[in-house]
């Protein structure tokens, strides 16, 4: 009975656009949904450091190296804010990391694709960060306060990343024939996985029911995907690259681009662990975590010793 009343109050707040804060009452499903979504987002930021990290040592100029390194560092920072936001829901970062490593939690499938040439540093910033922004701008209005605030902070940096990525690929698209070919190849490989980042069609999407009612999700997968495609097509044209979709064309009546069929079979296979880099990414994360164990233990022991010394003194 009491719960029904609480639920009613909770929904009234949501409907009035009042943010839910950590100490507020919330339905258990709301908490679980957010724990899953925010931690998945945090894991994505952290795992996403790997495909770009793959090119730091080979960046073709010192300026490009510094820009890339700073970008990846931003992603680590995003991981930090998001883990903090997720921790307000009553689970520790260690628990979330354990879920990632035991494959109970997912991260964005896009990071299971390899980065094969320097042009991929352009494509990832332009398309992957570009798609992330569309989603994250929408999440700035999400109903859970700490998540919404983390998104505001993150979005500012993501738009830098998107521009820097575009700058890299634009420069290559206007470069030597080899550079142009690398740029086109990167677009070819990253286009479809990028537009699938928004998730399945609304009609096949299992997790949206209450998420919409509770305003965790403010726009549907298909709406967000359409926004991304509409803003990206022109950007490709300007730099003379071709989006690898023969069905892509402007639909005057809809005021949007129509586009071809996505390969959901591939998508679900990559989600299930059969992508080119799933195993590599997770092993990398586990290895770093395991190799850091003695360091974390030493820091803890040292801090303990200091505390004891202070108590004696």
């Amino acid at each position: 009975m009491e719960d029904a009343k609480k639920l009613e109050e909770f929904q009234a707040k949501i409907d009035a656009e009042i943010k839910i804060e950590p100490k507020d009452w919330m339905p258990e499903d709301y908490r679980k949904h957010l724990q899953r979504q925010i931690s998945q987002h945090a894991h994505s930021e952290v795992i996403g450091m790997q495909p770009e990290g793959n090119w730091i040592s080979r960046a073709p100029s010192l300026r490009a190296k510094v820009v890339l390194l700073a970008k990846i560092q931003d992603e680590a920072g995003h991981g930090q804010y998001l883990y903090s936001a997720a921790e307000t829901l009553g689970k520790s970062r260690d628990e979330y990391i354990e879920e990632l490593q035991s494959e109970k939690a997912k991260y964005s499938s896009i990071f299971n694709y390899p980065t094969l040439t320097w042009a991929d540093m352009g494509a990832v910033g332009w398309l992957v960060d570009g798609a992330a922004i569309v989603n994250q701008v929408s999440l700035q209005r999400t109903s859970y306060g700490p998540y919404a605030r983390a998104m505001v902070r993150i979005c500012k940096e993501e738009s830098f990343h998107q521009r820097q990525g575009y700058e890299i690929i634009a420069h290559m698209a206007q470069g030597t024939p080899e550079q142009k070919a690398m740029a086109q190849d990167a677009l070819n490989r990253f286009w479809w996985p990028s537009i699938m980042m928004f998730g399945p069609h609304d009609s096949d999407s299992p997790n949206t029911g209450n998420a919409t009612l509770w305003k965790i999700k403010r726009e549907t997968n298909d709406e967000l995907r359409q926004k991304f495609i509409d803003k990206t097509v022109g950007q490709a044209e300007i730099i003379g690259l071709t989006i690898p979709d023969p069905d892509l064309k402007w639909n005057e009546a809809r005021g949007h681009y129509d586009f071809g069929k996505m390969d959901w079979d591939e998508f679900w296979n990559v989600v299930k662990g059969n992508g080119p880099c799933n195993k590599q990414r997770l092993e990398h994360h586990k290895k770093a975590h395991k190799e850091g164990k003695w360091v974390r233990e030493a820091a803890l022991t040292y801090a303990q010793k200091q505390k004891e010394k202070q108590m004696v003194a």
């Binding site: 952290v46 450091m49 790997q50 990290g53 730091i56 040592s57 080979r58 960046a59 073709p60 100029s61 010192l62 300026r63 490009a64 190296k65 510094v66 390194l69 700073a70 990846i72 560092q73 680590a76 920072g77 991981g79 930090q80 883990y83 320097w118 890299i168 420069h171 290559m172 470069g175 030597t176 080899e178 550079q179 990398h284 994360h285 770093a288 190799e291 850091g292 164990k293 003695w294 360091v295 974390r296 233990e297 030493a298 820091a299 022991t301 040292y302 010793k305």
Partner: protein, 252 residues
């Protein structure tokens, strides 16, 4: 040797050292023991690349032939690099990296402090900017030396081994030749014999706080002044320089 030649070489020593150590530190991306430490380690890398860029650019200005930071970084071979032997040591485990960084940061801290008084205005300006950063690097690595040294039995043993293993590369930091002689006379360069005393004090103080033993000075490796390096530098450069070498007509 002219003063100009000497100054170019001096800038390359400083620039190359920061560049190579920066490249090593960047390898920590996504490999740190915590997310916070991942960020701290790559912050150091970013500082070092910043220093490398300014010193290499200045080398090009002094030379006056239009060579840029990237020409120096990407289009020289192993034997033309003047970084310290310590800076190129592989990262190893976290303790190896901390030990290397500590021994190195203590050196750069005192060197840049001295160079803030250089009679070459540009060197003095770059040194004071770098000094702020290196002060942090020294603090970061010293704190870890103490934590690991006075942490668990395992961490104590590991960090002591790391310091012991790296010790033979520390002699190379303080070797001088006619470049130093000429520039010291002009009030541009620092006397590394003086820096060595300061370095000794810093290292002794921190090792003592960390309950660690200072290794006995044995035979020291040398080579930085002649561009004579360990095998690992060639691999580092091959990787770093790959793109500009593979596509000489391209800009990025």
């Amino acid at each position: 040797m002219t003063q100009q030649d000497a100054l170019i070489n001096y800038c390359l020593r400083l620039g190359d050292t920061s560049l190579i150590l920066g490249q090593r530190m960047a390898e920590w991306t996504s490999n740190g023991p915590t997310l916070e430490e991942d960020i701290a380690l790559t912050n150091i890398s970013l500082d070092l690349f910043g220093q490398a860029r300014t010193f290499l650019t200045y080398a090009g200005e002094v030379e006056g032939k239009g060579r840029t930071e990237d020409d120096f970084a990407y289009h020289r071979n192993e034997r033309e690099f003047y970084n310290t032997l310590l800076s190129e040591r592989p990262n190893g485990h976290f303790g190896d990296t901390i030990a290397r960084n500590f021994l190195h940061a203590a050196f750069l801290y005192h060197l840049y402090s001295a160079l803030t008084k250089s009679k070459d205005d540009k060197i003095a300006a770059l040194a004071s900017k770098s000094l702020k950063e290196v002060t942090y690097h020294l603090r970061h690595s010293s704190e870890w030396i103490v934590r690991l040294g006075d942490g668990t039995v395992e961490s104590h043993q590991k960090i002591q081994d790391s310091i012991n293993d790296l010790w033979m590369f520390t002699g190379d930091l303080f070797v001088m030749n006619e470049v130093d002689e000429l520039l010291i006379k002009e009030g541009i360069a620092a006397n590394l014999n003086e820096i060595k005393k300061l370095w000794d004090n810093t290292v002794n103080e921190v090792l003592q706080r960390a309950t660690l033993k200072r290794p006995i000075d044995g035979f020291m490796q040398k080579g930085r002044l002649e561009g004579r390096h360990a095998e690992c530098l060639g691999h580092l450069l091959a990787e770093m320089q790959f793109l500009p070498r593979a596509y000489p007509d391209a800009t990025w």
